[in-house]
């Protein structure tokens, strides 16, 4: 009797995340750079790790790339353990902060590097390199040395080089930070278009919240090595969970006060709220406050009288600094409407005062 080996197809859950970061911590000496991070990334997603310098975002990226080992926790990709593999055996590629193009190789050889070291068939390499170079519009520079290229051009080559291995996950470590403002905006939209076109999952690291908002499907906000909030850009802006998030993402007014007998009191502002008594912090975005020329308000609104301390013209909008009484300063963003002075009535909707954790 010979035993029959039945080969079973691997059970793949279509909804399973591409990458799972499970309770990963990283300690350098006595410093906890990452404190038990758990994060899932879906296939095809554009996820941004956002945080200040020193928040641990680059360390998390390096753990996924394999340049560092987690102190504890595990990283899984496509149902396989990732963190125990050396970097060259991971189907993850990285676009480095300063591009890290090989100075001794020309553009073509830089892009071909991944295929060559992995032993791709020699006949296949030129066509794939050409394709990758045309994807990033760098075909005419194939013979140039990296030192001859501008920052934006090096950026494109780095992208082509990282994508040629067809990674399951592309890591981008502040790839646009070295570019000037105009070029950065242009590269942002190209990057987003490229990601949609090729459908590869992007994990993008940046400290620039505007960039994160513009590009991402979801933002993971890191603070001191811990995840502060993970949500879509719209949600994280509209419903920040913490005071830190509210301040980091966009501009806001943080109102500190207390709730007593279903009334929230923050300085001169008071409104009804159905929550238990205690101290409370609210985030009120500047653009949710508006002028009330007739001094009227709806039941769902809060009205206050404020004197204008400062007005900053910003093209399409104006930013006012308004004293709501007793020196409580509120920032108010209005559509551009000419110079304003003196006292005015302002209103905001109660629903726009978002209670946040301190």
């Amino acid at each position: 009797m010979s035993s029959v080996v039945i080969s079973q197809p691997a059970i793949v859950d279509a909804n399973a995340p591409l990458l799972e970061v499970r309770a990963v911590a990283k300690r350098f000496g006595s410093r906890d750079v990452l404190k038990s991070i758990s994060l899932n990334i879906a296939s095809g997603e554009f996820l941004t790790l956002l945080g200040e310098s020193g928040s641990g975002k680059t360390t998390l990226l390096r753990l996924i790339a394999g340049f560092e080992q987690p102190t504890s926790g595990e990283i899984w990709m496509s149902g396989e353990r990732l963190d125990t593999r050396p970097p060259h055996k991971r189907r993850v590629n990285t676009v480095f902060q300063n591009y890290a193009l090989f100075p001794h190789l020309n553009v073509r050889d830089n892009v071909a590097y991944g295929l060559r070291v992995q032993g791709a068939p020699k006949t296949e390499i030129p066509a794939r390199v050409d394709q990758a170079l045309s994807m990033v519009k760098m075909s005419e520079f194939a013979a140039s040395r990296p030192s001859r290229l501008s920052g934006g051009q090096q950026q494109r080559v780095a992208l082509a080089r990282a994508l040629i291995n067809r990674p399951q996950l592309l890591l981008l470590d502040e790839p646009l930070s070295a570019l000037d403002a105009n070029l950065r905006k242009q590269m942002q939209s190209e990057l987003k278009a490229l990601q949609r076109e090729i459908g590869i999952t992007f994990l993008f690291v940046t400290h620039d919240q505007e960039e994160a908002m513009a590009l991402s499907d979801r933002i993971a906000l890191l603070r001191d090595g811990a995840l502060e909030q993970v949500a879509s850009p719209r949600e994280i802006y509209a419903r920040p969970a913490t005071a830190y998030t509210a301040q980091f993402i966009g501009q806001t007014n943080l109102l500190r006060g207390e709730i007593r007998r279903s009334i929230a009191t923050c300085g001169a502002l008071r409104w009804p709220i159905e929550e238990p008594d205690g101290p409370a912090v609210f985030s009120l975005r500047p653009e949710t406050i508006r002028l009330s020329p007739d001094g009227k308000r709806q039941l769902s609104e809060v009205k206050f009288r404020g004197s204008i301390k400062q007005q900053i013209f910003g093209g399409a909008s104006e930013l006012l600094e308004v004293d709501a009484g007793d020196g409580q300063l509120l920032r108010v963003r209005l559509p551009a409407s000419g110079p304003l002075t003196g006292e005015h009535d302002f209103v905001f909707s109660i629903a726009d005062a978002i209670r946040v954790a301190d």
Binding site: A65, G66, F67, P86, P87, H88, K89, V92, N93, T94, F96, Q97, N98, A100, L101, F102, P103, H104, Y113, G114, V117, Q118, R145, S147, R161, A162, N165
Partner: protein, 281 residues
Amino acid sequence: MYSRAYKTIVSAPPLLWVSLFLLLPYALMFAHSFWAVQDGALVHHWNIDNYRKLLANPLYADVLFRTMRIAASVMLCSLLLGYPLAYYLSFHSGPRKELLYQLVIVPLWVSYLVRGYAWKTILGSEGVLNGFLQYAHITHAPVGFLLYSPFAVVLMLTHIYTPFVFLPIYASLEHIPRPLVEASQDLGAGPISTFFRVILPLSMPGLFAGATFAFVLSLGDFLAPLLVGGSSGTMIANIVQTLFGAVYDWPLGAAISVCILLITLSLLFLTEHLEKRWSFR
């Protein structure tokens, strides 16, 4: 902008130094090589007989080729020792880096002569090495080829010049941006592939500089052959020394020196070209 006077004052000392201690002696040497000796006295008859003698007598060519063979062996051996050492220190030594670096450099503070005599003590027939070989019953009588042979010269010069080879290689390895190494791994290259495709090419300038050090310094060495070389380990500098000192044939000695100088200069020219070709800043 600096004033003319300032520029003149600043550049005068090095110019003076170079003319007085480099150009003038070389000019004298060059002139001597075209003069002659008659009845033990130098006469200023311009001729090319010295160079004819060099070509006619195979002894000079033999010694010159032996010298170049020894210099090449020293270069090869010190590269084989120095490069792995520099690579380990730069990439894998971790927190011990500073200490190990000092340990490599320390022998440079020890006098050349002391190290030469130390090798004599180690390699001699009554020496440490022969003592050990007999004690371990590997040999029954002192081994002769250890001392007073080209082998001993290569060994001693390798010991002395390995730090000189190590230093430029180490410097060039330290200058390789580490993200390049990570990028290579990231793209799928293992450690060996990364070494040959990224690290080695980017350290070539240091390697050329180190190789030149070892070769050129060995080429002109006369103490190592004097101390441990014996008659079979004589090098070209010993001949020059004898011609100037014992034989008192300065013109012939100068002619040999000019030849060595030309070899050295063309070598420096070549390595400078190579270093430029392999630097990508």
